[in-house]
């Protein structure tokens, strides 16, 4: 099962972003340059209509910066971004506005991204009128359709965000993203703040809406159980780079990169047959800490934690290239 094979809606090549850190007083006095944080380096990704691309990684791996670049909240300082074949980074004026309409974002904290003083109906109407999606006279009808689409009651339009629970607020966030008829939705940890029973409701909603509207979905999460379930293809990020990218099911069944293997090994599964407590496996899947992105290790960024690292890994950074598995892996030891 590799998902729909269609032409790319959104395509990034070599995308990169660094942030200059604030220079300390001592650095200024000594004339030393400030530190540079390479948040994302050299990321290639493609997502097609009706397809879900999962992006997984731990804190500091650059997944949120990547999301923000895709919706152009951050301007990339390297690489290209194409939307339906057009250069998305060169768009200006009306075209850029149209890009913002067609590529929408759903955030982790729906409460933080909704105006607390605006009724839900007003928030939705604002998006509709800014982007002139429907004539003024049809706005009310369109709002009713949207609320119905995300399974919220009709009277939700008259209420304020604080009157809703976390899961309902995320539904409002999704309704607002959908209101402007996007082709792509970038969802950054959209269910991480929710209880598991509610998570399932929202995940189902994403899948249902995607199938109904043919949306391309980029689903960013730290939860491997979830991405394995929802994604057609998945990219695993470590310290700003993609280390493995492939079809979700095949890749999670037989991960190639030692980091992907460790990440999967660390997920606590609800599996009463294989319990760490009873099997006496007292050794964690991965030793060591996540390195600081300000001071990444030389060679392969994963080598200090990698159980298989050899001398070459300490000096030469592996590039992402096709492996015997059939998908690209950035590891010197991956069979080709």
């Amino acid at each position: 099962m590799s998902g729909p094979v269609q032409q790319a809606v959104l395509e990034a090549r070599g995308l990169g972003k660094s942030f200059a850190m604030r220079r300390g007083t001592l650095d200024l006095l000594r004339g030393r340059p400030g530190a540079v944080l390479h948040a994302v380096s050299d990321v290639d990704l493609v997502v097609s209509a009706g397809e879900t691309l999962g992006i997984v990684g731990e804190s500091g791996c650059g997944k949120s910066t990547l999301a923000r670049m895709l919706v152009r909240l951050h301007e990339p300082d390297a690489g290209t971004l194409r939307f339906q074949g057009q250069d998305a980074l060169a768009l200006t004026g009306q075209d850029r506005r149209s890009y913002h309409r067609r590529v929408q974002m759903v955030f982790q904290d729906p409460y933080g991204s909704l105006n607390p003083r605006m009724r839900v109906g007003e928030a939705l109407a604002e998006a509709l009128s800014v982007h002139r999606v429907v004539p003024k006279t049809e706005i009310a009808a369109r709002i009713a359709t949207l609320l119905d689409m995300v399974h919220l009651p009709k009277d939700a339009a008259q209420r304020y965000p604080h009157e809703f629970s976390g899961g309902q607020r995320q539904r409002i966030g999704i309704a607002r993203a959908l209101s402007v008829e996007p082709a792509v939705i970038i969802a950054d940890e959209p269910v991480s703040a929710l209880d598991v029973s509610v998570q399932a409701q929202i995940v189902n909603l994403f899948m249902e809406l995607q199938e109904r509207l043919g949306l391309a979905l980029v689903f960013i999460t730290h939860d491997l159980r979830l991405v394995r379930h929802i994604a057609h293809r998945t990219a695993v990020m470590y310290l700003g780079r993609v280390v493995e990218q492939g079809p979700a099911q095949a890749m999670f069944a037989q991960p190639v990169h030692p980091y992907t293997q460790a990440l999967l090994g660390a997920v606590p599964l609800v599996d009463v047959q294989h319990r760490a407590r009873t099997s006496g496996q007292g050794v964690a899947a991965l030793r060591g800490e996540l390195p600081s992105p300000l001071d990444p290790p030389p060679g392969c960024p994963f080598h200090p934690r990698c159980p298989m690292a050899v001398e070459r890994c300490r000096v030469e950074r592996p590039v992402l290239k096709p492996a015997a598995s059939g998908w690209p892996v950035a590891c010197h030891l991956a069979p080709v």
């Binding site: 598991v196 029973s197 189902n204 899948m207 159980r225 007292g282 964690a284």
Partner: protein
């Protein structure tokens, strides 16, 4: 049972708020034996953290606690403050979700371990330093001698949690209360901390109560589990019993919401299938709940659920408060 360390009976906690009384926890029974790890699992507002804090009376002044918390023959809830202080930290220690707010930011880690050693031990200064080094080493912090001088902000999230565990262990507690100790951590670091806690529990014979919302964490690291919903324990038993053959409709539904749960979790069959959510929301706790609190969201609910079901033992020590218990197991 003779080796029972902690016996909680009919614990209830209410908060008096400006908007009225909130019944956060009611009728909780809990027992912890020496050396075992008991999981308290539930969603937000289920009362799991409040229960944990009530055990050593670590709650705000507007909380009213009733029931019994018997710790080695004494009722903690009836103890005078000075006797309670001797138990808290020394016999029963606690670790929290966010180590940065639980640690003192202006004292070095060494100093914070030392404080605990002074308060709860009789070692001289050199002995305390040796012990502090030993503790940091035990929780897996490298170059312990230098790290003793470091302040909390100089540690990463995982190391801070390790440091907090070291402080908690300083007095050699017999019971460790852990409130979502890995929730703020990345998955590979969570794995390290859980395994560390399991090893310490086994190695030191220390009992643990682990509060978490993550069923996977409980499944991997606990011996027994209590499932909480709307302030009550609704199911209790060994992890194998509760997660293998749930006898409460809530536990059953909760397990089904998990992506890739069940035998298909290692195969491809479950991919992109719809998850099975629990519709609706947990009930509000500021008004009385009649009958089973889960009934409005339950697919097994019937007329008899209007009366709250009592906990029933199936004969093997697996208890549940659910009229559908036998129907669930049959499926």
């Amino acid at each position: 049972m003779s080796d029972t360390l902690l016996q909680v009976r009919d614990l209830a906690v209410t908060f008096e708020t400006r908007r009225g009384r909130v019944q956060a926890v009611s009728g909780v029974d809990l027992s912890v034996r020496a050396g075992e790890i008991v999981g308290l699992v539930g969603e937000s507002g289920s009362g799991k953290s409040v229960t944990l804090r009530a055990l050593t009376r670590l709650l705000h002044a507007n909380a009213r606690i009733s029931g019994q918390v018997i710790w080695r023959g004494e009722d903690v809830l009836a103890l005078p403050e000075n006797r309670l202080r001797a138990i808290r930290g020394r016999e029963i220690a606690m670790i929290f979700q966010e180590p940065m707010t639980a640690l003192n930011p202006v004292l070095s880690i060494g100093r914070q371990i030392d404080e605990n050693l002074v308060a709860h031990g009789s070692l001289d200064q050199a002995g305390r330093r040796r012990r502090a080094l030993e503790l940091l080493d035990m929780v897996g912090i490298a170059s312990a001698a230098q790290r003793l001088e470091n302040f909390p902000h100089e540690f990463s999230g995982g190391q801070r949690q390790r440091a907090m565990i070291a402080i908690a262990l300083a007095a050699e507690p017999r019971l460790l209360l852990a409130d979502e100790p890995t929730t703020a951590l990345d998955v590979t670091i969570q794995d390290q901390i859980l395994k560390l806690l399991m090893n310490l529990s086994t190695g030191l014979g220390m009992a643990m109560v682990l509060v978490t919302h993550d069923l996977g964490v409980v499944a991997q690291s606990c011996d027994r589990v209590c499932v909480m919903y709307a302030g009550r324990v609704v199911e209790r038993g060994s992890v194998e019993q509760v997660f293998g053959r749930p006898r409460h409709a809530y536990t059953d539904a909760l397990l089904r919401t998990m992506p890739g749960f069940g035998p298909s979790s290692h195969t491809e069959g479950a991919a992109r299938a719809r998850l099975v959510p629990i519709e609706g929301q947990p009930p509000r706790l500021d008004r009385p709940i009649l009958g089973c609190a889960f009934a409005p969201r339950c697919t097994h609910a019937s007329a008899q659920c209007e009366v709250r079901p009592e906990m029933v033992d199936d004969g093997s020590g697996h208890e549940a408060a659910c009229f559908a218990a036998d129907a669930l197991v049959a499926v």
